[in-house]
Symmetry: C2
C-alpha cells in the first residue's frame, strides 16, 4: 500500500428493489462488475441479502421470530411500547431484537438476518473473481447498537476475500517497540465507511470501497477470514450479561447457597 | 448531498513528530489548510493532541495515572501480566486502562487522553474557518475496544463543526413509514473511515474526509454537537458493569439483606 493512496467510497446505482425472486449474483454482475478494479471491496447491506433469501416473516410473528433467532438472552429492558430483548443470535451477533429489521421492508412484514452471511460473501467474492479475473473483497454489513456509546454503526456480519482483523501485536511501533494490544477490526471500519455513503433512506444498498487492496486476499477457503471471527464468544466476554441480569443472577446464587441448594 | 458523490479519505503528509512544544493550530495551518475544500472533515488522532498538550507521564506512574483518570471502574480482569481495568474516564469514555496509550510514545512514558477533545476540536474548527473562509468539520479520534466484538475500531472522542449523530427517528423510510430506532453515530463512522488510511504504524496522524459536506455545520456554540453526546451515561447503560462485577454486587446485596444490613 502506498500510504498516500486515498480510499474512495461510492455507491452503486441501479440496484432497484430486491425480492426473494432476485438472484444476488446476477444482480451484482449486471450492476457492479463493470465498475470494479482489482483490490476493490464490495459492501452489501444485510437487508438485501435477507430479502433475496426470502427471510421476511409476518410482523405479527415478530416476537416468535426473535425467539427462534435467539441463542442466548443477554439483557432485556421494558419500555412503554413493550420489551427490548438484546440477544445473541444464531450467528453469534449480540443485537437488539436479534437483528430483526422493521424499516424499508414490505408492509406487514419484518426481516430476519441472512442465514449464513459469511458463506454468501464467499460465494459472491468467488463469482466476482470469475467475472472480473481479479480478487475482490466482499463485506455484508448490518447496523448494530453498542454498549457505552449512543447511536448505531455499521459492522461486518459477513466477509470473504479480505483481511477481517488486522493484527499489529508483535509489530514494531514507530519507536521500534512491540505493540501490545492493537488488533483492528478493519472489516467493521470498512462497513462503517460504506454506511457514510449508503445512508439509511437513500436506496443504495451496495457500495464499493477502493484503495485498500493491501487488505484483499484470494477468496479461497485456505485464506479465509470470516466476519464470524469478529464475534467474541460469551465465555471470553466480560459483558456477556446485562448489568441487571448479572446482578439478579448473583442475588439468586447467594439465596440458593443460603438455602443449601447447589 | 448528491447520493452518488463519492467519499474520499486521504492522509496529510508532513505532520512530523508532535511534542509538547508543538502548536497544533500552527501545524494544521502549515500542513492541512492548503489542501482543504469547503465541507471537508479533518480527522486528528487523539495521540498527537495529547502529545501537544504534554499529557505524557512516566511509565512507572502508569497505574497511578489510570487511577487518576478513572471516574468509575466498569470491570477488571486479571491476566498473567497484571490486571486490565476497564473504566469510565473523565470524558465519560469507557476504555481499557482509561485510554492510556503505550504505543508510539517516547521511551519510558505513557500518554493520557487529551484534556478536553471537544473543546480542542472547536478551537481547531474555528481556526480552520478563519484560515480558509469556509466551514470545516474536525474530529479527534481514538482507538477503543468494544463489548461482544473482537478487535478495536476508531471512534470520535472530540468533534466540532459537524453532525455527530444523525437521527432518522420520525423520518419516512423507503416505504413511507416512520423509522423507529435508527440513530447513526456518523462521527464514529468518520473516525473509523479515517483509521483505514491512517493505520497504526504509518505515521500519518491526520486525515481529510471529503464528500460529506451535508454533515458539516458552522463551528459556533449555537449549532454545537459534541463527541461527548456519543457517550451513554451510566444510568442509561444496560452494560454499565461487567458481568462478574454485577454478579458479585448482586451476591453481596443478597448477603447484606439476609444479615439484616440495609
Amino acid at each position: 500500500m502506498t500510504p498516500l493512496e486515498p480510499v474512495t467510497v461510492f455507491v452503486v446505482p441501479g440496484i432497484g428493489e430486491v425480492t426473494s425472486d432476485t438472484d444476488l449474483g446476477e444482480l451484482l454482475i449486471a450492476t457492479v462488475v463493470a465498475r470494479l478494479q482489482p483490490g476493490d471491496i464490495v459492501v452489501i447491506t444485510s437487508k438485501i441479502v435477507s430479502k433475496a433469501e426470502g427471510r421476511s416473516v409476518r410482523a405479527d410473528d415478530r416476537e416468535d421470530a426473535i425467539t427462534e433467532e435467539t441463542v442466548r438472552v443477554v439483557a432485556t429492558r421494558r419500555h412503554p411500547h413493550g420489551t427490548t430483548r438484546i440477544v445473541e443470535n444464531r450467528l453469534g451477533i449480540v443485537a437488539a431484537a436479534a437483528g430483526v429489521d422493521t424499516s424499508n421492508v414490505a408492509d406487514g412484514t419484518v426481516l430476519l438476518l441472512p442465514q449464513d452471511p459469511d458463506r454468501t460473501a464467499l460465494t459472491l467474492a468467488r463469482l466476482l473473481h470469475v467475472e472480473t479475473g481479479f480478487d475482490v473483497g466482499v463485506v455484508i454489513s448490518d447496523t448494530l447498537g453498542r454498549a457505552w456509546r449512543e447511536g448505531q454503526t455499521d459492522v461486518a456480519i459477513g466477509a470473504a476475500g479480505l483481511t477481517v482483523v488486522q493484527d499489529y501485536r508483535g509489530m514494531p511501533d514507530m519507536q521500534g517497540r512491540m505493540m501490545q494490544a492493537t488488533v483492528v477490526a478493519v472489516a467493521d471500519e470498512i462497513a462503517a465507511a460504506a454506511d457514510l455513503v449508503m445512508g439509511k433512506t437513500s436506496g443504495y444498498p451496495v457500495a464499493i470501497v477502493r484503495g485498500l487492496s493491501h487488505l484483499v486476499v484470494p477468496a479461497s477457503d485456505d485464506t479465509l477470514q470470516q466476519a464470524r471471527s469478529l464475534v467474541r464468544s460469551a465465555d471470553k466476554d466480560m459483558f456477556r450479561l446485562g448489568t441487571a441480569e448479572a446482578f439478579e443472577a448473583g442475588r439468586r446464587a447467594a439465596a440458593a447457597h443460603d438455602s443449601g441448594a447447589p
